[in-house]
Amino acid sequence: MAIAQAPAPELELEVPRVRSRWAEVVRDFCRRRPLGAIGAAVIVLMIAVAVLAQVIAPYDPLGTNFGAMLSPPSAKHWLGTDTFGRDVLSRLIYGSRTALLVGFGASVLGATLGAILGVGSAYFAGRVDLYLQRLMDVFLSFPLIILALALVAILGNSIPNLIMAITVPMIPRCALVIRSSALSIREMPYVDAARAAGFGHTRIILRHMLPNVMAPYLIILTAFLGQAILLEASLSFLGLGVQEPIAAWGLMLRGAAVEFAESAPWMAIFPGLAISLAVFAFNLFGDSLRDALDPRLRTQ
C-alpha cells in the first residue's frame, strides 16, 4: 500500500520584528507629536546641510562675481546673487554652519552652566542660595539682547566672543528653572541617604541630583537653541556679530540687503525665511519635547 505522502505544510511563523528602543521612541514621538516631528526633521535637515555644505553648495560662498551681481533667482543661481555676485543659496548653506555653531555652542554652554548653578544653589540652600539667586536676579533684570549687546561691545566681535555673549544672559534663566526642579529632588530620601553615607557634595550633585534634572535641562536646551540662533542673527544684523565675508544669515540681512530691498528682495527674503524656519523648528521640537518629558503635560 502506497502511502500517499502529502507535502508538509509550510509553517508560517510570525517572527517578531526586532526594533530598537530608540526607534520605538522616535516612532512614538512622531505619532504622538507630529508637529514636534516636523521640527525635528527640519533640524536634522539643517544639521545635514551644515555638515555637507562643502559638497552641496553650488558655489564658493565667499567668491565674488561682479558679472552676476544682483542677479534674480534663476537656473544658474536658484536664490539669486547679492551685491558682490555671491550666490545666495551657497551663502545660506554655509550660513547654517554659523547658526548651528553659535546656537549649539551658546545653548549647550548656557544650559549646562545654568544647570550646575541651579542644582548647586538648590543643594547648598541658605546663604549660598540667597546670594546666587540675587546675582541671577541682577542678570535677569537686563533684557537678553541688551546684555548680549553690552558683552559683545566689551569682548569684541569674534565667533567665540559671540557664543560667550549669548551664553551669559542664558545662564540665569536656566539656573532659575533647574533650581526649582532641584529643590524637590534635594528633599528626596536617596539624597538624604547619600549624605548619611558620607558622600561628598560634588558626588551628590553630579551623581544623584543632576541626572534627575535632565528633563527640564533638555527642554531648556532646545528652547534656548532657537533663541540663540535668533540672537546671533540679531547681533550680526546690528553689525556686532559675525563679520563679513563669513556667511551668516543675520549678516546677509543687513547693509546692502536693506539698501536694495526693493530692487533685489531675494537678498533679504531667503535669509529671513531660513532664520524663521530654524527658530520655528527648534521651538516646535522644544515644545513637543517638553510635553513628552513633563508628566503633568503628558497626554495619552
Binding site: F66, G156, G239, Q243, E244, S263
Partner: protein, 529 residues
C-alpha cells in the same frame, strides 16, 4: 525782402522759444530751502570743529576772506568773499587783501580789516586753552596785520603755493573783533556774522533756521527768504524726506541705490548732480610688523587689486567710482590716466600684476594661504563693500584675510595706537590741495599710522609745497606719488569716493563740488517755486 522776412521770422521764433528758458534761469526771489543734515554741530565755532554737521547749517551766517567759486565744479578756484581784491609780493611772502566796504555784521556793526585780523589771529595764534583745529595749516604765517580799516596783510615765513586756496577754507568764519576781545569763546555758543542769512533758532536734535539778511553786502542776494536745516541721522529717513518732498536736498551725499530709488519715484521732479569726492579709503600697513615691513609684500598687496574692474562694478553699490592716485581726478594736480596706469596695482593687465604679486610673496617667504587680520571701520558706506572687495582681491593671490570690524568711535584711537597689521585708513579734505591731502604721509605726521620712515617723501613734500610754478609742482608730485604708491608702497589707495546729490528739481543755483564742506553759504541758491 521776402528772403529777409523769412530770416526775421525764424529769429523771432528762436527768440520766443528762448524766452521761457531765460525766465527760468533768472533767479526767483523768495521761498525757504529745506535740507536734511545727517550730523549735528558739536559747537557753533567753525575754527574748532571738523564736521559737516556744523558747516551745513552754520556757514550761511558767515562770510570768509576768500571763498571757493560757488560755480567751480573742481572746487579749487579761490574768489573774493570779504576780500575785494588782493596782491602777492614778488617773493611770495606778503599777501595784501583789500577788504570790501559797507559790509555789516548782523548786529549792525561795520566789518573792517580789524575783524579779519582778530579772526585769523584766533585761528593761527590761538591763546592757551583755545582750540584751533587748522592752526598747523598756517605754519608758514609769521604775522597777520591790519594797517588800515580796509587792508589785511599776511606775512609768510616761506612762500607756500597752497596759501591762497587755504584762505578760502570754509571753516574760517570772520568773527567780530570786539566780541572776541571781550570773550574769545563767545562764538562757541553764539552766532553772529556778516553772511547772507541771519540766525533765527536752533532746536537741538530737531532743526536750525536762518532768515534772509537784508543788509548782505552782495546786493540782490540771497535769493531765498530763509532756510531750515532738519537734523536727520538715519539715511533711510533722509531719503524718505526727499522722496516725500519734505526736504529739497541733503548736501552730503546719497548712495547709488538711494539715487536710483529717488529718480524712479520722483522722475522729472528730481535732479541729480554727481562729482568725484575729495575722500578716499586707503589701506595702511604697519611697517613695524612682519611681513608688512617688507616692501615686496606691500607691493604684492597693491598688485592684487583690480581697481579698473572694481571702478565699474562697485560704483553700482557703493559711493566710490574713479580710479585715482593722490589727487581727485579732474582737479589741477590729478594724475593723468596714462601716468596712473604705470603704477603698481593700476596696470590694466591684472593677470600679469597678480602673477608678479605671487612671485613677490614667494620671494618674501610668505606662504600660500598666509593669514592676517584686516581691520575696518564699522560704517556701512563705503567701508563695508570696499572691505569685502579687498579681502576677495587678496584671496586671488593666495592670502587668507580675516576682517575685524571696529566700532567707529574706537577706530581712530586704534589706528593711533598702531594696533593693526593692515587697516582701512581714510581721508576727507575740504579743498583739493596737495599740501592738505599729503601732509599725512610725512614721517612725523600724527596720521602716519603705518609708521613709515621716509625722508625722501618728506623732502618731496616740502619741495612741491614751495614750488611756485604749477608745472614744476606737478612734476614733483608725480615723483612723490611713484615713491609713495609704487616703489615703497607705504600706503595703497582703493577707489575715489563719488558724491551723489539727488535733489528737488526746484533747487537752482547750487553746484556740486568734490567737497561736502564747500558751497554751503546758499547766497546763490534759489527755488523755482
Amino acid at each position: 525782402m521776402r528772403r529777409y522776412a523769412g530770416t526775421l521770422a525764424g529769429l523771432l521764433a528762436v527768440a520766443l522759444l528762448a524766452l521761457p528758458a531765460a525766465a527760468q534761469d533768472k533767479p526767483r526771489l523768495g521761498g525757504e530751502l529745506i535740507f536734511a543734515v545727517p550730523s549735528q554741530p558739536p559747537s557753533y565755532d567753525g575754527h574748532q570743529e571738523e564736521t559737516f554737521g556744523l558747516i551745513h547749517p552754520v556757514a550761511p551766517h558767515y562770510s570768509t576772506l576768500l571763498r571757493v567759486d560757488p560755480f567751480d565744479k573742481t572746487g579749487t578756484k579761490p574768489v573774493g568773499d570779504l576780500a575785494e581784491s588782493w596782491t602777492i609780493s614778488k617773493d611770495g611772502l606778503v599777501y595784501t587783501f583789500k577788504i570790501r566796504k559797507g559790509v555789516k555784521f548782523h548786529d549792525g556793526g561795520e566789518l573792517t580789516a580789524k575783524d579779519v585780523k582778530a579772526s585769523y589771529d584766533k585761528i593761527i595764534f590761538p591763546p592757551a586753552g583755545v582750540k584751533s583745529l587748522r592752526k598747523a595749516a598756517y605754519a608758514a604765517v609769521a604775522a597777520v596785520e591790519a594797517p588800515d580799516a580796509s587792508t589785511a596783510r599776511f606775512k609768510l615765513k616761506w612762500p607756500e603755493s597752497s596759501f591762497l586756496l587755504n584762505l578760502a577754507s570754509p571753516w574760517n568764519f570772520i568773527y567780530k573783533a570786539d566780541i572776541l576781545a571781550k570773550d574769545i569763546r563767545w562764538y562757541e555758543k553764539n552766532v553772529m556774522g556778516t553772511g547772507p542769512f541771519k540766525f533765527v533758532e536752533h532746536v537741538k536734535g530737531s532743526h536750525w533756521v536762518g532768515k534772509k539778511n537784508p543788509d548782505y553786502w552782495d546786493k540782490g542776494k540771497p535769493y531765498l527768504d530763509g532756510y531750515r536745516a532738519l537734523f536727520i541721522s538715519s539715511s533711510s529717513a533722509q531719503v524718505a524726506a526727499v522722496r516725500g518732498e519734505r526736504a529739497h536736498i541733503q548736501f552730503r551725499g546719497f548712495t547709488p541705490a538711494d539715487r536710483d530709488s529717488l529718480v524712479a519715484a520722483l522722475g522729472p521732479k528730481i535732479a541729480v548732480q554727481e562729482s568725484a569726492w575729495d575722500c578716499a579709503l586707503m589701506v595702511a600697513m604697519h611697517h613695524e610688523k612682519k611681513p608688512f615691513d617688507d616692501k615686496r609684500v606691500r607691493r604684492a598687496l597693491t598688485l592684487a587689486l583690480d581697481r579698473w574692474e572694481a571702478s565699474k562694478n562697485l560704483s553700482k553699490i557703493a559711493i566710490v567710482r574713479d580710479v585715482a592716485g593722490i589727487q581727485v581726478p579732474g582737479t589741477p594736480y590729478a594724475t593723468p590716466p596714462e601716468e596712473l596706469k604705470k603704477l603698481a596695482g593700476y596696470r590694466p593687465d591684472i593677470n600679469a600684476s597678480r602673477a608678479e604679486a605671487k612671485r613677490l610673496l614667494k620671494e618674501a617667504g610668505v606662504p600660500e594661504g598666509f593669514s592676517f587680520t584686516f581691520k575696518n571701520r564699522g560704517i556701512p558706506q563705503p567701508y563695508e563693500p570696499i572691505g569685502i572687495w579687498l579681502i576677495d582681491q587678496w584671496k586671488q593671490i593666495g592670502l587668507n584675510v580675516k576682517q575685524e570690524i571696529i566700532e567707529a568711535s574706537a577706530y581712530h584711537p586704534m589706528l593711533k595706537r598702531g594696533d593693526f597689521e593692515a587697516a582701512m585708513d581714510f581721508q576727507c579734505g575740504f579743498i583739493v590741495e596737495p599740501d592738505l591731502d599729503l601732509g599725512r604721509f610725512l614721517t612725523n605726521s600724527d596720521a602716519n599710522y603705518g609708521k613709515h620712515k621716509d625722508v625722501a617723501i618728506d623732502d618731496l613734500y616740502q619741495r612741491q609745497a614751495r614750488a611756485t610754478d604749477p608745472e614744476e609742482r606737478k612734476k614733483i608730485l608725480r615723483v612723490l606719488e611713484k615713491r609713495l604708491l609704487d616703489e615703497e608702497v607705504h600706503v595703497m589707495y582703493t577707489l575715489q569716493w563719488h558724491r551723489i546729490i539727488p535733489h528737488s528739481a526746484k533747487v537752482k543755483g547750487w553746484t556740486i563740488t568734490p567737497s561736502h564742506y564747500l558751497n554751503n553759504q546758499l547766497d546763490t541758491v534759489w527755488l523755482t517755486e
